[in-house]
Symmetry: C2
Subunit: 142 residues, 2 copies
DNA sequence: ATGGCTGCAAACACTTTGCATCGGC
DNA sequence: GCCGATGCAAAGTGTTTGCAGCCAT
């Protein structure tokens, strides 16, 4: 994470460290939850910092914003793609890592699927092309 | 849709018809976009009605709220599960229906996937059980 | 020492709610 | 005719922004 910040010419502050740390250890918190945990460590951190930092980390692709069905966006550190089992009733989230992952329905272990979302997020052909043109061989990373 | 409303003891109004129709024909609009289209047909429809109706339709499981990566929630009529190709650059959304769907990567036709989200939305075992207990044979549908 | 980052609070955008009226059943 | 649904506008919630001081570089 340090490297990525440096790369992007951003500064490494205690707040950023803290927030990234919280997101790492708590995969499915929303901004409010992250803020709350942050307050316990640094009582005078501001929510603006939380939002700014999460946006920054998302831009640097260090964390992902996971939409999580009904609820609001939650944050988690970028990792191997995995499935989310999201309960519409209690909001609980279970993760299924990909290797041992979703090979059979039995892996769901009693979870009752109502609907699924498969989102492939990236660049459409046109934008991918534009980006390649715009981008110098080594420098650019947004 | 009419039936589902009836079932739930809800009334069939022109506004609900209109909004459902708009969502049907425009799979990836957000609330604001839906409202805008609705205004063209019924200039005095209120946004509150749009929100209330969309929430109602979502509750009746007639439409889904699709989180769509970076953007805000979008609405679409419930249909066969399909994948979304979401461009982070221009925000375009392409749908891939399941039968002809994502069997090979070539189906992506040049889309450059950066990350994927697989969300299985439903009831965790505990809540599924609770719901079965609470639910009378015929009456209850929350 | 400098410019980016932070905290604070105001601004903003989106969604929900209260109430009187309207209209489906 | 009754009770739910609507339209309007105000309230609520979550997120962003402006600015002065602070701190990583």
């Amino acid at each position: 994470m340090v490297d990525r910040l440096r790369e992007a010419g951003k500064r490494l502050t205690a707040e950023r460290r803290l927030l990234f740390d919280i997101v790492s250890k708590n995969p499915h918190l929303d901004a409010a939850g992250i803020y709350k945990l942050a307050l316990e460590v640094n009582p005078k951190i501001g929510q603006a910092t939380v939002y700014r930092t999460l946006n920054l980390l998302a831009e640097l692709e260090l964390v992902d914003v996971s939409p999580l069905g009904e609820a609001h966006g939650h944050y988690e550190v970028r990792a191997d793609d995995h499935a989310h089992l999201i309960c519409v009733e209690c909001g609980s989230v279970r993760e299924i890592p990909p290797p041992d992952g979703l090979r059979t329905l039995e892996d769901l272990e009693g979870f009752e699927v109502r609907r699924t979302e498969l989102e492939l997020i990236g660049l459409c052909p046109a934008c991918a092309k534009k980006r390649r043109e715009k981008e110098a061989p080594q420098t650019g990373d947004e």
